[in-house]
């Protein structure tokens, strides 16, 4: 986007009487006019126009954004504030003007290739190769499933084996770069991207499957925008499972199931139907939709560095999402993102079980007749 075009977009948002603010998760968390799309736009507009430069608090406000793009759903002029915030963060990082709390993510990725500062050597410890001799598929696990949500990773391999795939993982998998792109550390993200592209392009799988929508968006949107080419098709697990609906087992889950659309999978990648079709096939019931779903789904609170920098507010957002699931009487809250699953499970109270899609599908495969979680 040209500078003049960006300023025009910011002018529209800065001049709006806040028609999206009521849907902004960070407005919910802070109940202040500062961490809102309008607030961010006004700060960037004044900076760009030379009225008022970004100070330390303004920079903090720009990092009090989940980049979830919910505001875009409610924006008639379609001002993409999340992207503009991301571009501004890139400039701030290049100038060394960013919240230092992010250093732990960037330095961990630089040193260990994951944001959790876990040893790289432990990345694939969860993986047990299967003996299936079918179509070769490479599972790009992603950092959260590899280190914190092993159940998702194991379930994925198990399901794919059930479906006749020969699954491999690579010891050379690095962070996809998503947390870096979203927080402004673009150059370090490009390093990860180039490394991953080199590794994946010479790997033996015919296609790549991911469970993390952050990885999916990085591979299908960020990498191409950066001119980094992946020479194999990339599928999200929900898309792959949708192709095998008939082979999935259906069981009685014993309670209403709702679905949380991850921002990177839904609004950012337009994938809404595949996970729903899989859930409906596996449970034999319709998904009970929350009041805010699909394009209007609320973020879980775990995006774009917010949980790292502002843990309490991220938790308020996670709690609100859990409440929305409870309001529709859901016994199971299924998502299709290890990052969302991790956040929502950490906030879930008794009486509601949070599952990632592969975990749900595997539960059906492993169950005799009724799943009890």
């Amino acid at each position: 986007m040209e500078d003049s075009e960006a300023i025009e977009q910011l002018r529209l948002c800065a001049g709006c009487p806040k028609m999206c603010r009521h849907m902004c998760p960070t407005f919910l968390a802070w109940r202040s006019d500062s961490p809102t799309p309008h607030g961010r736009a006004l700060l960037m507009y004044q900076d760009a126009k030379g009225t008022r430069a970004l100070d330390e608090r303004a920079i903090e406000v720009l990092y009090q954004c989940l980049e979830c793009s919910q505001c875009l759903t409610w924006c008639l002029p379609q001002v993409d504030i999340a992207t503009m915030v991301e571009n501004e963060r890139m400039r701030l990082v290049n100038e060394g003007r960013y919240p230092r709390g992010l250093d732990k993510i960037s330095s961990a990725i630089k040193a260990n290739h994951n944001p959790f500062a876990e040893p790289h050597g432990k990345r694939n410890k969860w993986f047990v190769p299967t003996k299936t001799q079918g179509k070769k598929i490479l599972y790009f696990t992603g950092c959260t499933a590899a280190y914190h949500e092993n159940g998702i990773a194991r379930s994925t391999v198990s399901i794919l084996s059930h479906l006749g795939y020969k699954v491999s993982v690579t010891p050379d998998e690095w962070c996809c770069g998503s947390p870096l792109f979203r927080t402004g550390f673009r150059d370090l993200g490009i390093e990860q991207a180039r490394h991953n592209a080199g590794t994946l392009n010479k790997s033996e799988g015919d296609q790549i499957v991911v469970t993390c929508p952050g990885c999916f968006r990085a591979f299908t949107k960020d990498y191409p925008q950066l001119g980094i080419e992946l020479k194999k098709p990339v599928l999200h697990i929900s898309q792959l499972l949708e192709k095998h609906l008939d082979a999935l087992r259906a069981v009685d889950f014993g309670g209403p199931i709702t679905y949380h659309d991850p921002c990177h999978l839904g609004r950012h990648s337009g994938i809404y139907e595949p996970p729903r079709k899989v859930i409906e096939r596996v449970s034999g019931t319709k998904v009970v939709e929350m009041a805010r779903s699909r394009e209007n789904a609320m973020c879980c609170g775990n995006g774009a560095g917010l949980r790292t920098l502002f843990t309490d507010q991220a938790s308020i957002i996670g709690d609100a999402r859990i409440s929305q699931a409870r309001e529709v009487g859901a016994k199971f809250l299924v998502t299709s993102c290890p990052f969302c699953k991790n956040m929502l499970a950490s906030r879930a109270e008794k009486g509601i079980t949070v599952l990632d899609l592969p975990e749900m599908v595997l539960a059906a495969f492993d169950s005799t007749s009724k799943v009890k979680m």
């Binding site: 001049g15 009487p17 109940r31 700060l43 126009k49 009225t51 008022r52």
Partner: protein, 475 residues
């Protein structure tokens, strides 16, 4: 702005009341809280100008905290500007003299829905759409649907005597507010009981409704509810001129019919907002109607209204334009590239008058506003048995900021003067705020002195939203 010593004392006491996380003295937060949706503020921001800033923004969570904060502010003689959604269009939440902005957004609880008495008790910081959606889930509506519903708060509705697009049927906020809790400048909490009617002296609720933060801070309200209407029909009728449209509207009310929506667009507004989607003869004026209620009642109301319109020379456009407007009613609230470019500024003077004066007010305001080179278009937006309001919308663009702001002010001065001269009242629902503050005395005439005296008693130190509602500045 406060002097350093006063500010230090204030901050220390505020922190003791709300804790370290619920106030800010940061300039960035003050900049982001400095404006509401007043078009002149927005135009100035676009032009790179800065606005007056608060010294402290406080986010209380309870009436008790509001009371303590006001006591401190009163002792220290610090201005207090209550802020709800910040969606007002008159600069009512602008901290003209600095001091405290008391931001009520954390007071956002819906406390009780009473289906038996059809009431909802709600805190002032609740966003309008959140309240409406919650009561909808229980089968009710507040009947209060201003275009700002996504951005404005309950406290702001009441503080500005706001009106929704269906006020012809459901009433304005002053009709919908049964109970009220407010805090006065000295920190005392005043509660007006929620009863349908009473005979115990003057209705003090009505003193606080529309007081725009100059007499009190509204902290809680009990609002009326209505069962969600089983059906809503839309009908559109196109008239050769404004006069015949108004004749039809009067006749509809005389039949005892209360449509939920009654909006008559003049020729210019019809050309801009209707003929872009529907074939309309040049110079014609579109009337948009909606009817709420049981299907059989709605059918009768609609057919009688349609007959009246046709008898007054209208062409029947079916549900089209009216339904289209309803489905896109929030769209006009978004800024456009055209309206925000250069030194452009547009605004709405939302006047109200009785039928015997309404047309004269319209023609005279339009005439004087156009003498300043403004594009003027209007719709009669909220109609009642005795008269109604007109949205006198103007838009002007100038080559530089100085002439743009000066022209804006001249249009307002002359427009309001024409309204008052012809017997109208200068606002139906937007309130006074900063825009109309200097006209308040002329508008209220002899009753302005009464208002001033009440202000002197309730706020002797003049700390409550100084500079608004014609109440002068802070000393």
């Amino acid at each position: 702005m406060l002097d350093t010593r006063t500010k230090a004392k204030l901050v220390e006491q505020i922190e003791a009341i709300v804790g370290p996380d619920h106030f800010t003295t940061d300039e960035t937060d003050a900049v982001l809280n400095a404006h509401d949706a007043w078009p002149l503020s927005e135009a100035k921001i676009r032009a790179g100008e800065t606005l007056p800033l608060a010294d402290v923004i406080v986010y209380p969570s309870s009436t008790e905290e509001v009371s303590k904060i006001l006591r401190v502010a009163n002792d220290l003689r610090v201005p207090v500007v209550p802020v709800g959604g910040g969606a007002g269009t008159c600069g009512g939440t602008q901290p003209t003299y600095g001091g405290i902005q008391l931001d009520l957004k954390r007071m956002d609880k819906i406390l009780a829905i009473d289906g038996e008495s059809l009431l909802v008790r709600v805190q002032a910081g609740t966003v309008g759409i959140d309240l409406e959606e919650e009561v909808n889930r229980h089968g009710y509506t507040t009947g209060h649907t201003p275009t700002s519903l996504r951005a404005s708060n309950v406290g702001g509705f009441i503080a500005t005597r706001s009106g929704g697009s269906m006020s012809s049927l459901y009433g304005k906020i002053e009709d919908l507010t049964l109970g009220l809790e407010v805090v006065l400048a000295d920190g005392s909490v005043v509660r007006c009981k929620a009863v349908p009617r009473h005979s115990v002296g003057p209705d003090l609720r009505q003193l606080f409704i529309g007081s725009e933060g100059t007499l009190c801070v509204i902290t809680e309200a009990t609002l009326r509810l209505f069962p969600l209407p089983p059906s809503r029909h839309f009908r559109s009728m196109c008239f050769p001129d404004v006069h015949s449209g108004l004749m039809a509207i009067r006749a509809i009310f005389r039949e005892g019919i209360f449509p939920s929506v009654v909006r008559l667009y003049d020729a210019e507004d019809t050309a801009l907002h209707v003929s872009t989607h529907f074939e309309v003869e040049e110079g014609n004026c579109m009337l948009m109607l909606a009817f709420d209620g049981r299907p059989e009642k709605v059918d009768i109301d609609e057919s009688i209204s349609a007959r009246i319109c046709i008898e007054n020379g209208a062409k029947d456009y079916g549900e089209g334009p009216s339904k289209y407007w309803w489905e896109h009613r929030y769209d006009m609230y978004y800024p456009t590239k055209f309206a925000t470019s250069g030194f452009s500024v547009g605004d709405t003077i939302d006047i109200v008058a009785t039928y015997d004066r309404l047309e004269n007010v319209y023609h005279e305001m339009k005439r004087v506003m156009e003498t300043h080179g403004a594009a003027v278009m209007s719709h009669f937006s909220h109609m009642y048995p005795n008269g109604g309001s007109i949205y006198m919308i103007f838009f002007v663009s100038q080559p530089d900021a100085e002439s743009a702001w000066a022209t804006y002010r001249e249009i307002w001065d002359d427009g309001v003067a024409a309204c008052l001269r012809e017997g109208g009242t200068m606002s139906h629902q937007h309130g006074v705020g900063t825009t109309r503050s200097t006209y308040t005395e002329a508008e209220l005439g002899s009753s302005f002195e009464v208002l001033k005296k009440i202000k002197e008693v309730l706020d002797p130190n003049g700390i409550m939203n100084p500079g608004k509602l014609g109440m002068g500045g802070h000393t």
